[in-house]
Amino acid sequence: MNYKQPLELNGLLLQLDLFLRGNLPPFWASLIEGLLILIAVLAAYAVIALILIYAERKVTAFFQARLGPNRVGKYGFIQSIADMIKILIKEIIHINRVDRFLFYAAPFFVICASVMAFGAIPFGQGLQAVDFNIGIVYVLAVSSLGIIGVLLAGWSSNNKYSMIGAMRSGAQFISYELSAAFALMTIVVMTGTMQLSEIVENQRYAWNIFNGHIPAIVAFVIYLISGHAETNRAPFDLPEAEGELTAGYHTEYSGMQFGFYYLAEYLNMFIIAAIATTVFLGGWMPIQIKGMDAFNQIMWYIPSYVWFIGKTAVLVFISLWVRWSFPRLRIDLLLNLEWKYLLPINLVNILIMVLIVLAGWTLTDLFPILFGN
């Protein structure tokens, strides 16, 4: 049962679709819709990146008891726009001995990987560009394309720092990719579907993290750790450890080319948080209690995309918190953490989850009156 939602966008989108299909030949209607989707994805991508960069700088500043950006606009609100314009008019320096083709191709891989993963995120009811029935595998597959860009950047730069940074990044990414995949698989065992929109729909009365209780919570924590490591952020930021490697794999990049790496890093952080929200914390679904219609109706008055952004913002904040609380690890300790702890725990965790599902110990199976769909 769906309640009334005054501010939802899916009705508007449906109207637009009907209008275009009614007034234009099918080919042109599809073309215009495709163009609109492309623009919408890019606009959301850019806006979220700008907000995240501002938020990170401000939150970091408060963690370190400083003020952060506060000169450009009220409270420094348009600081990141100013930074974007600045980086756009910076010179792109030509390095003498790089492998030119690979050097210029690398940002395409990094950005395409994160835009493609970004397109699969369900931001709200009907606000999802790509909804494959193998959504989770799709997200894992396209987001791991990004590492090709990082490796190409490190190799083609012909710089020792870049090379070491890219190698570290490669080892780190492929290791933690496994944990992320297994953690998401734990939830797939429970939901029985990999389509992201269906996973959200299934979490109406019980979020997956509560529905699967112990194994789901373990999987959630593992997913956050490995997602954090995949995005190369402190305490796992060895690939760009500035004390040892100046800037790691993007040392030789300048101007807008560097800007794309910067953009992709922030967006990857958002994508990890968004996938964790979708799979574990109910996605855009408002908090619902079965049988309490008045309460549910009030919750539905808050639009679904606000719920989604709110839950994601909490996870992004946790990521920043971790970043400013822990010192950087050494590369062998980092890989040990994955191969000796997270991976075996994960494998056992999946089997426990299967047992719980088969024995009917998930919350929806135990208390169908309270949590059943």
């Binding site: 792109i92 001995r97 989770i136 490669g170 080892a171 496994l178 990999m194 807008m256 599902v357």
Partner: protein, 117 residues
Amino acid sequence: MDNLSLFVIVLLAGITLVTVGITAARLLSPKSINFQKGEPYECGLPTHGTSWMQFRVGYYLYAILFLMFDVETIFLFPWSTVVRDIGMAGLVNILIFVVILGLGLAYAWKKGVLKWT
């Protein structure tokens, strides 16, 4: 629209973003050619040799291990969607499979692959 064309649209969105961004930056930014500026950013002295060299074997072994488990992931995902329906038989079958792979990891661990020397 079907999913495949949507996928192509999202891919095009990524390519468009980079192309437009770099073209705009090229048009807007100043240009000055200077040999010194194009040197690799290393330590101030003239760079010694190339960076395209063989690299430490430790990373290679992790890549091999990754390959083993990544193929397992692809095999386990279809299984995980249907495990509710196939029940205990599915669990037992996959248990054998996971144990064999776990033995592989244990072997690598014992052999000292995971130790960084």
